[in-house]
């Protein structure tokens, strides 16, 4: 097989993180190549290096037999590399046809678009790939599968020869997945190369020729799919050495029921979830992206409306219809996107920390500022927030310190249940360990911590009990001491039957 893309010894670092470490990769023309790895293994960095979004720090990249150095996504795209992202990149108000030819419209006269020629080209590409798509329909009225098809067509009219698909099936129903796989086979017949990134093992077995597994920025190996089975892949993904990192010692003292949920549902995202969480425990919730963890967190906190289900706080049924209600019942949430949802970036540290507890520092609607500052300083010290002072805007802080500010907000307001959604995402290793320590201290102090993460190692390391979510449902429950493999298996099961 002719080599289409070859990387050798490619590295990429970010401050404090070595995202790619000497990766070699060879992909043949017309091959469907699966790329696997846990969150943070370096998959998306690798894709961005190939697609010209990031510049690599070292190593070489050969594409179509020539050494290349893409300085921008535009250059990579001109060479024939296209990325189809999880989220659609179509303009919702434009038609399928307009989207496909966006930026490369045929011109009848300068400034006048030649629609007829566009339609003819569209027809011929559709026939070649045996696609059927309504050319005039607005992109926002398409199904997710049709959107993917439109994006593939968009790549095809730009003469793409190498298509990277990043989690293409996340929002697809089973029938649509089957359709997508058919499309991939058609593309393969046209000698189009596909780099296929997914969480779901079944999918790569169905569609890929070879599989590459990344772990901690390094390549673990590339093997023909036929030689692998699931266990082998899971072993490659998580490695062998991590068993020692699990919590040891007796199960901590677990107190009274803190939060109980029965039959919680919302649309397709969360269906019929029931569980109980206790004071003094860290309840881990694991699952891949799109498994409904974040949606569950938001339902528990009243940030979204639930379609069905009951929430009991401290044994009492509560109508939690808004974050206001949740906070008054003693529930706090560290949201997954701290910058957009957790912080007011241009405000000072102290204002961010005290916002949820302001009534405590208030007498007759007047803020007692001295008390507010004393308390925020005490909490900042306790969490070791590194800053020039409480008046520093949080936008100037590092990611780890920003996250501590979000946690401080709930510490100071003394919540009994704290939901933490991906609290360590995008922060350095040191801060990550500190946040794990803070979580344990909170639990030891009687708080019920609900810890949501898609990183299995930290879930296993920190949690006392683990629920695994998949496609909006809780599919398994484990006590501490469970192996990572078991959890990864549960997380990756299903999809793409």
């Amino acid at each position: 097989m002719e080599t289409h893309l070859r990387l050798s010894n490619v590295s990429k670092s970010f401050p404090g993180v070595r995202a790619l470490d000497g990766v070699d990769l060879e992909i043949g023309r017309g091959e469907v190549h699966g790329l696997l790895g846990e969150n943070g293994a370096g998959k998306s960095t690798l894709v961005k290096v190939i697609a010209g979004v990031y510049r690599r720090d070292g190593g070489t990249l050969f594409f179509d037999g020539r050494e290349r150095d893409f300085g921008s996504p535009g250059e990579a795209s001109a060479a024939g590399i296209t990325v189809i992202h999880q989220e659609t990149s179509l303009i919702p108000t434009l038609s399928v046809l307009q989207n496909i030819f966006l930026g490369i419209e045929h011109k009848a006269l300068p400034g006048i678009i030649d629609e007829r020629r566009a339609r003819k080209d569209f027809q011929s590409v559709c026939e070649r790939l045996s696609f059927y798509l309504p050319a005039e329909r607005q992109a926002r009225d398409l199904s997710v599968a049709e959107q993917k098809m439109t994006e593939i067509l968009k790549a095809m009219v730009r003469n793409a020869s190498f298509i990277i698909m990043d989690e293409p099936t996340d929002a697809l129903a089973d029938a649509e997945i089957a359709h997508l796989f058919q499309i991939i086979r058609d593309l393969k017949r046209e000698s189009i190369t596909i780099l296929y990134i997914t969480h779901y093992l079944e999918e790569v077995f169905q569609i890929s020729d070879r599989i590459t597994v990344l772990r901690d920025g390094k390549k673990v190996g590339t093997r023909p799919t036929a030689e692998l089975d699931k266990d082998a892949i899971v072993k490659m993904m998580i490695g062998q050495q991590l068993a020692a990192e699990q919590p040891s010692g007796p199960h901590p003292h677990v107190g009274a029921e803190a939060l109980r949920v029965e039959g919680l549902s919302r649309k397709r995202a969360v269906s019929d979830v029931s569980f109980t969480a206790y004071q003094g425990e860290i309840l881990g919730i694991a699952g891949v992206l799109g498994s409904g963890k974040t949606e569950l967190a938001r339902l528990l906190f009243g940030a979204d409306r639930r379609d069905a289900g009951k929430i009991f706080v401290g044994g009492r049924l509560c109508r939690i219809a808004s974050p206001v209600a949740a906070v008054s019942r003693g529930i706090g949430m560290v949201p997954e996107d701290r910058k957009k949802l957790g912080l007011i970036l241009k405000h000072e540290i102290f204002r961010n920390i005290s916002i949820a507890a302001l009534p405590r520092f208030t007498r007759c609607a007047l803020i007692r500022k001295r008390q507010e500052l004393v308390e925020t300083l005490r909490i900042s010290k306790q969490l070791d927030i590194k800053a020039a002072g409480p008046n520093q805007p949080v936008q100037d802080l590092s990611g780890g310190n920003q996250q501590k500010v979000v946690i401080a907000k709930w510490l100071i307001s003394r919540q009994k249940v704290l939901i933490m959604d991906e609290p360590t995402r995008g922060i350095d290793v040191g801060s990550k360990a500190e946040i794990h320590r803070i979580m344990r201290e909170l639990a030891d102090g009687g708080v019920c911590v609900i810890f949501i993460s898609s990183e299995v190692p930290e879930i296993v390391k920190v949690s006392d009990r683990i629920l695994v979510m998949q496609k909006g449902r809780v599919v398994a429950e484990y006590n501490r001491g469970v192996g990572q493999e078991e959890i990864v298996h549960q997380m990756l099961k299903g999809n793409g039957k």
């Binding site: 957790g342 912080l343 500022k369 070791d384 020039a388």
Partner: protein, 322 residues
Amino acid sequence: MSITGDMLQKTWFRRGGFSIKKYGLMIGFLFISVIISIITPNFLTPTNLLNILRQSSIIGVMAIGSAFVIISGGFDISVGSLLALTAAMSLKLQGSMPWYLGIFVVLAVGALAGFVNGVLTAKVHIVAIITTLGTMSILRGMTYLYTGGYPVLGVSEDFKFIGSGHLWGIPFPIILFLAMILLWQFILQRTTLGRYVCAVGGNKEATRLSGVRVDFYHIMAFVVGGIMAAMSGIIFASRLNSISPLAGQGYELDAIASCVIGGVSVSGGEGSIIGILIGVLLLNVVSNMFNLLGINVYAQFIIKGVIILTVVGFDSYSRYKQ
């Protein structure tokens, strides 16, 4: 470095968060206007200075309310029309009730108009500028209906005190304006209302997820905007004692300009009320200067526009550069 106790002291004294960077341009403008005012004859006379302050007080009071709205992340262009309606009411109501009761009714009308603006933006989710574009037209129409299209005259002599009276030798509107500056600066900085209004403008979703009743504070900011517009309407009516239904056109723009020049961030979440004092004075100093120098009145509109664009342009471009 970790946050330590001795920083508490520093923080305690540095309440306002006043920074040269933020207000540099404003200080520069003041500096220039001081220089020019020295070379301008008749500028530095007590009468002229008090005159400038008194002229500033109507827009200034209105701008306090606009600042609350802008800080909360909104925009209110209906306040000019609201000024006309409330000014006409405060004169016409004198025929049916004592003037001081009329004032309460008028302030309540202002609060109601603000409440409607707030509900339409926070609950119905119409973009603030479009909401207030609609209510601007509605309020102007109500003013015409209420006055029948003719100027309204006041009858009470006591009422005139608000706009034309003196207290301790100082025109009363100035005292009222300065008192309002202090009051609302205090409310912005030291009360939950002020704190939450800032937070809503800074990041509404993050504030909601902190358990704050964001819609309530969003609406309250508009209510403050309405009340302060009504108060400026009262001063205006009392000053002229005769209100045409056309009154107050374009005042909303001057009020917004005063806020922006005074350091209120157009993107919300930041700003002070004290800054408005400087912003509104700056606008009036410049036009006063041109009047004294005998420069064409029409040119003043152009100058005003240039000032606004310079200040906001400087702020926006440096933000973009970051």
